[in-house]
Symmetry: C2
Amino acid sequence: MHSSSAKSPDTQCPNPKSPSGRPAVGIIGGGQLARMLAQSATSLGCEVIVVENTADCPAASVSARLIKGNTGDLAALRELAATCDVLTLENEFIDFRLLARLEAEGQCVRPSAATMEKVQDKLVQKQALEAAGLAVPAFRSVSQPKEVAEAAADLGWPLVLKKRRNGYDGKGNATVRSDSEIADAWAKLDGDTCELYVEQFCPFTAELAIIITRSAAGESVAYPLVTTVQKDHICHVVSVPADVPAALADQAESMARRAITAMDGIGSFGVEMFLLADGTILINELAPRVHNSGHYSIEGTVCSQFENHIRAVVGWPLGSTELRAPAVVMVNLLGHAEGQGTPSGVSAALSVPGAHLHLYGKALSKPGRKMGHITALGSSVPEALNTARTAADHLYFGTPS
Amino acid sequence: MHSSSAKSPDTQCPNPKSPSGRPAVGIIGGGQLARMLAQSATSLGCEVIVVENTADCPAASVSARLIKGNTGDLAALRELAATCDVLTLENEFIDFRLLARLEAEGQCVRPSAATMEKVQDKLVQKQALEAAGLAVPAFRSVSQPKEVAEAAADLGWPLVLKKRRNGYDGKGNATVRSDSEIADAWAKLDGDTCELYVEQFCPFTAELAIIITRSAAGESVAYPLVTTVQKDHICHVVSVPADVPAALADQAESMARRAITAMDGIGSFGVEMFLLADGTILINELAPRVHNSGHYSIEGTVCSQFENHIRAVVGWPLGSTELRAPAVVMVNLLGHAEGQGTPSGVSAALSVPGAHLHLYGKALSKPGRKMGHITALGSSVPEALNTARTAADHLYFGTPS
């Protein structure tokens, strides 16, 4: 159960590199997840340094320092490592071999390269989940188009053809309904150069998600199970508690904990699940990082997924995941058009009592781009949803710059 | 009721100076109050720029930019004004004449120079409060030591001799118990060069405080009344709700609102009050800025004093000041000795469930220096106090660097 790099919490940073004594946390990536991680880390007295190739990224203004560089560039990561006590990340696309190299050079990386190896390749991830006895949609590797047809003979139509790496928000997926659609899907996903796999299409009745934070010592805490509503493969609304019987929520939590333990994860992880009509829960996908389905925890729980991630990677005890209200809803704010990153309608949105606005400070809006989110607490999900939606409806992202 | 610089909320930043369209908020000062203001402003999508003379100040790592300069230096403030849509401040020591000059040059300053003129000189402040019909301890101006003795003849012993400007945390005050102590007190406060005044000593039974946030349009919201416990003139513990009858709390709130309206304040203000044995409430002092007695509002209320300050100065509607729990307690973390700004015992403090740790990131600890605070929510004040104290007791500020 214990991570190979586990150290006792009190000795995690025995000799912080910063002369101030502040634990220095390096974040690979500077988007909104890094931004919210940095805000939590700073409040806990950490020094945050970020690697990102744009100086105007969301995390830049809330970090002590930005190292301008590509998140996949070893030299930039080494520069980060030189001043940081622990490195962490905000996306699953950092090649685990780069992380392994930093570890070999003595750097503490959390989650570890070994965890990233098991999670960032979705085929390997599914195999690891299956090996841990966890239910996942039926899947198989495909190396050429004709293997998709062979898979269909076993798994049935439709199938979902997926890239093994670097997919997000539905980018990297294609639904294939019959033999005649295989060629197009293969070409769309660039199957001749990218490794692909296929999965059984899941006729789910709900999408569920849960955040698990796991410490280096192998303890884990689970956030409440949430219902997520996606639109065009992008998370739109997250509501807590999930609208499922308690026994089912317990089962989902237990599966999620086992999944993160199987990956030997350290930090906050998102676990996305499908609920089928017969009550079966399948794990759809893990994210080895803080996750959009946990943003509600900033106001909605005692200790947010961001603070708990920082606690876990620095080696501190984990905080309470208890809800602060009977219901919490988060609504994503997506760009409407190309234009300014600052929306119109902020004043009207802020006039909605109880709506918590989070803007990510992105310089530019693009259609569908995640620009911010709104969280609302309430006595029921419909009440909280109404508050969050009312505020969100005032905002427009795409004013010409 | 309306401020002379009031504009309608939606037209506050019609042409933001930042090409991104983000409202740019300039904060004069970079201490912990600026740090917490910057964190709120950034989450609302503002760009924060800070003027402070040390690059390693608490607000530096959470602001988009630091202008290195003295907060009393007109050139530095002009540089700030050049890129900011509104200027605000984190302490009452910025000479109002400097602010008036920036206003004359077309800059929006909130609170305004006129408000600062009435608040930063404590004698003028008391006169303005008295003129508004608000109860304050009896006071009078003194320009030479013999006038202290004359004041005692009217007001009785002991008296409190105070500097009219630049006092804080008891620095700038001296209690005078008899004629024979006047000369020492006068010398201690440098009465021959600093303007002083005297106040009746108030035998209070409790110190109360309240945060009022007032918008440019003259609307105000009141936070719950709190009890503050001082030690050596430094705020140690703040607890909510204050242990007073409801009618008295209502009276305190009404007095506080009237006080800030009398100053034509814009933004969050701290109002410190004395409760006497007979139930009389006197206003002790106003702070034209976010205040230590309101730090509990970060977790303790729906919208914190920091977020509401930003909403007020940018021209947005104010948020809810509703409590999130039956009781909230905040305990200040003060330096024990000279040494590292990062405390020992963080891991133990974080193991206390429900304790919210805020460290200000100061490079160095000094005895009595405000290094951070801990907030706890609970079902009663004793319960929340126990949580906060238990966590605070683990921390030691003063490890040799």
